[in-house]
């Protein structure tokens, strides 16, 4: 009973937090799809 109570308490905070983290990761994905280039100096071409 005590273990279930602890699990429920953790899930109550973990579920909304997990939702928030997932949303932020989705938002951050475009960052990794962009080609690196510096506006003041072009990227070195191989």
């Amino acid at each position: 009973m005590k273990t279930i109570r602890v699990l429920v308490a953790w899930m109550l905070v973990a579920i909304p937090l997990g939702w928030g983290v997932t949303r932020s990761i989705q938002k951050a994905l475009p960052l990794f799809k962009t080609t690196a280039s510096s506006p003041s100096q072009p990227a070195i071409k191989s």
């Binding site: 937090l17 990761i25 938002k27 951050a28 690196a36």
Partner: protein
């Protein structure tokens, strides 16, 4: 029956005194529930219930970090589709809501810290919920009636008091439950505050989208809904939290050295803040926060200026940093239980200074991925600094009034929150105005942040164990 005079007073006076002593029926039910004695854990209570209780409160009040999602909609509360010049609020006017809330956070934590320690975590958490959720409701009315002063009063002033109370309320309780791992304990709670924006910002956007209509931006309805949802979560935290019984300690754990729970190591807040150790730790927090918040507040724009990415990518970068800000709080703070607090702060400062100095090179060489990785580590250590400071205070001053001492130290955060972003703004804007390319405008600021962190390292190294003359001893008087 003949009335009995009491010390020469007549019967009527005595009856009147009796009336004032009889408690209101509601008071007699509520007061014992809120008393510190009612919060003492029964035998068999699991200490692992306390971190989710603390996180429930911190995840809610941490919503303030995501307040920027309301800025733009608040500027078109009248025009709805677009701001109406002269009638709608402006961005600088709206910006004050967040600033007032953060200033009140620091002030209320400093002023009410002793009250929080005296009344216990349940009472403080409920007061925090009342102020924070009540403030959201007042702000909702302010938006509905388009009265900016009411939004300042609600979200900024009243809500800000809720932030301060809620921030410090569970911290000392957690350290009492986890004397064997105080860094982990405070990391868990303060991680919640960092994670609050990750929930609050998307929740705010979802709700505004839900309530938006031809006659409303949905902000007032969103504030009211958030007040209802957050009051349930914060109520759960207040109902669940318990303090350990006097003399309780984890099975198989023995107090030793400065980590001792012995009253002989306890220091009162009024004595603590007159010691050099307090002010050195104040400087440690202020310098760590100044360096981190400067980059965190400008993350999106800095990424756009330095690498020429668009606003969507810049926003993604800011979101990524929020995750590392949250994760660093638990990871670094837990690690401090193994390394010791002074060592971990030396790592934050020295590694942080080196990484800040590396950032201009990542821009010059077009290493965007490296730039992202380096800033993520810097921000994780910024979060780690927040989460580790209560455990550091406990090592130096004991757990007796560590909540109140932590409350006074938080004024360093308020100050740094004002200075950090201004430093970045001022220096980068001045350089852009001088004709320097946007991509290079941030370089001196980054070197300055590196220098601030080295200064922080010096302050950290100067922290010495407290002279025993400051300890309370058995007398209990500071």
């Amino acid at each position: 029956m003949r009335p009995v005079p009491v010390f020469g007073l007549g019967f009527q006076v005595r009856a009147s005194l009796n009336r004032t002593r009889s408690p209101h029926p509601l008071t007699s039910v509520v007061t014992p529930y809120l008393s510190p004695e009612a919060v003492v854990a029964p035998v068999g209570f699991s200490r692992w219930l306390v971190p989710p209780a603390a996180m429930a409160v911190h995840l809610c009040i941490g919503e303030v970090y995501g307040f920027s999602v309301f800025n733009e909609p608040l500027t078109r509360a009248i025009g709805i589709a677009a701001p109406v010049a002269g009638a709608d609020w402006t961005i600088p006017q709206v910006g004050w809501i967040y600033s007032i809330a953060l200033v009140m956070l620091g002030l209320s934590a400093a002023v009410l810290g002793k009250w929080v320690d005296r009344r216990g975590p349940r009472c403080a958490m409920l007061a925090s919920a009342g102020c924070f959720c009540g403030g959201l409701l007042l702000a909702a009315l302010g938006v509905h009636w388009h009265q900016l002063w009411l939004v300042y009063l609600g979200y900024g002033f009243v809500g800000g008091i809720g932030l301060g109370l809620g921030y410090i309320a569970p911290v000392s309780t957690l350290m009492k439950w986890f004397p064997d791992r105080p860094g982990l304990a405070t990391g868990l709670a303060i991680m919640g505050f960092g994670g609050g924006a990750l929930i609050g910002a998307p929740l705010g956007q979802e709700l505004m989208g839900w309530f938006r209509g031809p006659g409303s931006t949905g902000v007032a309805e969103t504030f009211a809904t958030m007040a209802a949802v957050y009051s349930v979560f914060m109520g759960f935290g207040a109902i669940t939290v318990r303090v350990p019984a006097k003399g309780w300690r984890p099975a198989g754990w023995e107090a030793r050295g400065l980590a001792s729970a012995d009253a002989a190591f306890a220091v009162g807040v009024d004595r603590a803040w007159r010691t050099p150790q307090f002010w050195l730790l104040w400087a440690v927090l202020a310098l760590n926060v100044t360096a981190g918040i400067g980059i965190l507040g400008q993350a999106s724009l800095m990424c756009q200026d330095m690498f020429g990415v668009n606003a969507t990518v810049g926003a993604g970068f800011a979101g990524l940093l929020s995750i590392f800000n949250m994760g660093g709080r638990i990871v670094w703070s837990s690690l401090s239980d193994k390394t010791g607090r002074k060592t971990i702060y030396c790592l934050y400062f020295l590694l942080g200074a080196a990484l800040y100095a590396l950032l201009p090179w990542t821009q010059r060489s077009g290493q965007q991925a490296l730039f992202v990785a380096v800033t993520a580590v810097i921000i994780s250590m910024y979060g780690g600094g927040f989460a580790t400071i209560p455990a550091y205070l406990r090592d130096v001053f004991g757990t007796h009034q560590v909540g109140a001492i932590h409350g006074r130290l938080i004024t360093a955060w308020s100050l740094a929150a004002l200075i950090g972003p201004q430093l970045v703004n001022y220096l980068s804007t001045a350089r852009k105005a001088a004709g320097i390319p946007k991509a290079e405008a941030y370089h001196p600021t980054l070197y300055l942040m590196s220098g601030l962190l080295i200064l922080g390292c010096v302050c950290n190294l100067l922290v010495r164990p407290l002279d025993p003359r400051h300890h309370l001893g058995d007398g209990g008087q500071p």
